[in-house]
Symmetry: C2
Subunit: 262 residues, 2 copies
């Protein structure tokens, strides 16, 4: 590791942590990733990273900070579809689709890696393991969307809150943030409400109750899961849908081979 590569490696830590969770990432893969042309972009809290209608030419990967994928209705109601943590991709569809059908906003200050679409596709299509890891990441995100539908459709308020806390705790742990009992949740109660389809007043009621019952503790954005088992029991949480234990793939995939359309 030389002086030039070192800061980039730090940049890529979250991404590597994510991908490693799905597939074996060796030196060859790491070097290929590090060789990607990339720029760093930063976004302030509340700023839109991608707006509905945008058509970005770069793939963006969260390096640090939290963001939210969301859709707004005309009358001001808005729904968060999913939270994005370091290592998550903003928009894998960038290569196929015309215009984004939803927006993404930075929740905290966010730094992102911007990689030109064609360069990223080249790398991921030339390396089986990376390509596979990318597929897994996509599938995981889809599964998280599905779970979000069930959570908001068929669970009551406290089940929803418990379930979301457990998901985010688990996801934070995967990328090396937080430990077995606590993690930082830089998300206001208003945003939790927008994710769970509830009012922020009611989110407050539920969180208060969890605290009074000794299930969790809160100090600013630090959440301590004091009785994780009770939370799990309360909403019958199972982390299966996060697909954290990748099985050996049935096929080796070269997921995306591209050539310029011109």
């Amino acid at each position: 590791m030389n002086v030039i590569k070192a800061p980039i490696e730090i940049l890529m830590r979250a991404l590597l942590a994510r991908l490693t969770h799905y597939c074996e990432i060796g030196d060859a893969e790491r070097d290929a990733l590090l060789a990607l042309p990339m720029r760093e972009r930063t976004y302030e809290p509340g700023e839109d990273v991608i707006e509905k209608g945008d058509n970005p030419a770069e793939a963006l990967i969260v390096k640090s900070g939290w963001a939210a994928r969301y859709i707004s209705l005309k009358d001001g109601r808005s729904q968060i579809l999913n939270f994005l943590l370091p290592g998550d991709f903003f928009d894998l569809q960038v290569f196929v689709t015309d215009a984004a059908d939803h927006s993404i906003a930075a929740i905290t200050k966010v730094t992102a890696l911007a990689i030109p679409g064609h360069a990223m596709l080249d790398v991921f299509s030339q390396d089986n393991n990376l390509g596979l890891a990318l597929w897994w990441a996509t599938l995981q995100e889809e599964a998280i969307l599905r779970e979000q539908i069930v959570r908001n459709g068929r669970r009551d308020a406290s089940e929803r809150v418990a379930h979301l806390l457990l998901e985010l705790h688990r996801r934070a742990m995967i990328i090396g943030e937080g430990d077995n009992t606590e993690f930082r949740l830089p998300v206001s109660q208003v945003l939790i409400a927008d994710a769970l389809g509830l009012s922020f007043v009611h989110i407050n009621r539920v969180l208060r109750r969890f605290i009074n019952e000794g299930l969790i503790e809160k100090d600013k954005d630090l959440i301590v899961l004091k009785d994780r088992d009770a939370l799990i029991a309360k909403c019958d949480f199972s982390a299966d849908y996060l697909h954290l234990d990748a099985e050996p793939p049935r096929y080796r995939l070269r997921p995306l081979a591209i050539r310029p359309s011109g």
Copy 2:
């Protein structure tokens, strides 16, 4: 078109209609699809096509009938994630993932085409247009999931019902079922409730009201959208998320190249 191909073409009509909506499908593409080794499978109403935990080796495509992707909670509550119409894929993830994290049930009698995974990947990776169409289909499904989250999270009961009716009407039209004002909706009010996160009693109340207000008419499974504009206004429906107007792709994609992992 010869006598042997004719019945197969009929088999593939829905799939072709779907794919044609995204990309130009010429004779070459059609022939490639028709050459695929495939079997037909049938499922009875209520029967599970794929159960959570299954790990099928074939890609399944709805040929006729309606199905539903769903997740059940332990206590019997269940949530429909999405409806599957002719031309939809049951499980594109089959090639990468280990076990299905949700189930799919036939709503009506369903016939499906089963295509061995490797054969389908071959075809779709060798033909740019088909590969691209496949990507579009995947993205469309993800977008429908996102819209489902917003619908159930931030809309009230009558908005949800109106929005779902408009979506299903539009999707039925794409595949050549129904016309500008009516379509067949072979879905009981119980299932609509499970899709919209409401009780079937309330679904009935809302549908009754729509009928009394002259917005729709119903006769068995035939739904007539008598005042489509009013329905659209009621829920601010926009079909953008169905991505029906595919723009020319920025890149030409060869989406999946595989070789046996052994």
